[in-house]
Amino acid sequence: MFDFFKFFSKDDNTSKDIARERLKLVLVHDRANISPRFLEMVKGDIIKVISDYMEIDEKGFDIRLSRIEQEDNNYTSALVANIPIKKMKNIGKNKG
């Protein structure tokens, strides 16, 4: 019975999958020589800048280093940010 359930839950939760995902993430940081702490600093500054223009959901703010494949099959690091917008501010819209 135990094995029966294990069979169905296997795909997402095995410890090797966790190991693989954790490793992939840590290696992206290692290779780019950027620490998670550094990313937090970048995140703080981005929030400061764009808060002048829009109201954002800081909890949903996701910033990470990722690898993207280029045309020549080489990988390059990319800074990927996903910033949910709550509301646009009016400042700046009508300027100029």
Binding site: T14, D17, A19, R20, L27
Partner: protein, 270 residues
């Protein structure tokens, strides 16, 4: 002109010394002239794994400093034709030699041997820099654990920065039973993460410890699965195309029956 191969890993305890001893012995059994160079100055171990600890008079640092001739620091393994050890100095530290001196030593050894295998110390400091200085190619040893794979990735980067591009990977101590139940990263996971070519996979085998207890490399034991894996790796180093041994479907009926009765299950390739 021979080839200098450094065996490295970053992390300690993943089996660099055992790997060096076994590949070296396997190459000698294939009829090659091989010298194993222990670059772990201050923490030498290749001598005990090979069972040659009582035969050391001079060491690598003596040879480099001119205390003795090169030949005097080479210990001939009487059991295996063509196998020699150049031991590390035990009472010195990593700064006793420079990368330039190591490079010169490797050049001299290359003239006399088909293969010079260097057992690199753990870490990324002076000892590592010395060990890779004279190498033509590099082999990275890892075990399927997060800490070892992370360090291996770092080492691959450092090797590349020192013009040792495209190193080859040995995955050591793979446990087929753990891979099967999803509790150990498999061969593809590890290669995918590290992005380098695979040289071989060595299964976890308690005979390795028995062998090092006795000072006899496991490749000499025909019943040792790890020994067989090391023999295959040696052949691949020589340029032979040896497929990974599959322990799955491609087994003969007898193998499957034997495994059925012994209660062991294997699901991976080595």
């Amino acid at each position: 002109m021979g080839e200098v191969i450094v065996i490295t890993s970053g992390k300690g305890g993943v089996g660099k010394t055992t790997t060096t001893a076994n590949i070296g012995t396997a190459l000698a059994l294939e009829g090659k002239k091989v010298v194993l160079l222990d670059a772990d100055i201050g923490l030498r171990n290749l001598d005990v794994v090979l069972g040659l600890e009582n035969r050391i008079v001079y060491d690598m640092v003596d040879a480099i400093e001119g205390v003795c001739r090169l030949k005097q620091a080479l210990i001939r393994d009487k059991r295996f034709e063509g196998l020699y050890l150049m031991p590390a100095a035990q009472t010195r530290d990593k700064n006793a030699v420079t990368p330039d001196q190591m490079q010169k030593l490797c050049e001299e050894l290359k003239d006399q041997f088909d293969y010079v295998l260097i057992d690199c110390p753990a870490g990324i400091e002076q000892g590592f820099k010395n060990a890779i200085a004279g190498a033509d190619r590099a082999v990275v040893v890892t075990v399927p654990e997060v800490s070892a794979v992370r360090d291996a990735d770092r080492i691959i980067g450092l090797l590349s920065a020192n013009d040792l591009h495209s190193p080859q990977l040995i995955i050591n101590r793979l446990r087929a039973d753990m891979v099967k139940r999803g509790d150990m990263m498999d061969i593809n996971d590890t290669i995918d993460i590290l992005g380098i070519d695979l040289l071989g996979v060595v299964p976890d085998d308690e005979k390795i410890i028995v062998s090092s207890n006795r000072g006899e490399p496991a490749v000499t034991e025909s019943s040792s699965l790890a020994g067989k894996a090391y023999r295959n790796i040696a052949k691949r180093i020589m340029g032979e195309d040896v497929p990974l041994l599959s322990l799955n479907e491609e087994n003969t009926l007898m193998d499957r029956l034997r495994r059925f009765f012994s209660g062991k299950s294997n699901s991976s390739s080595i």
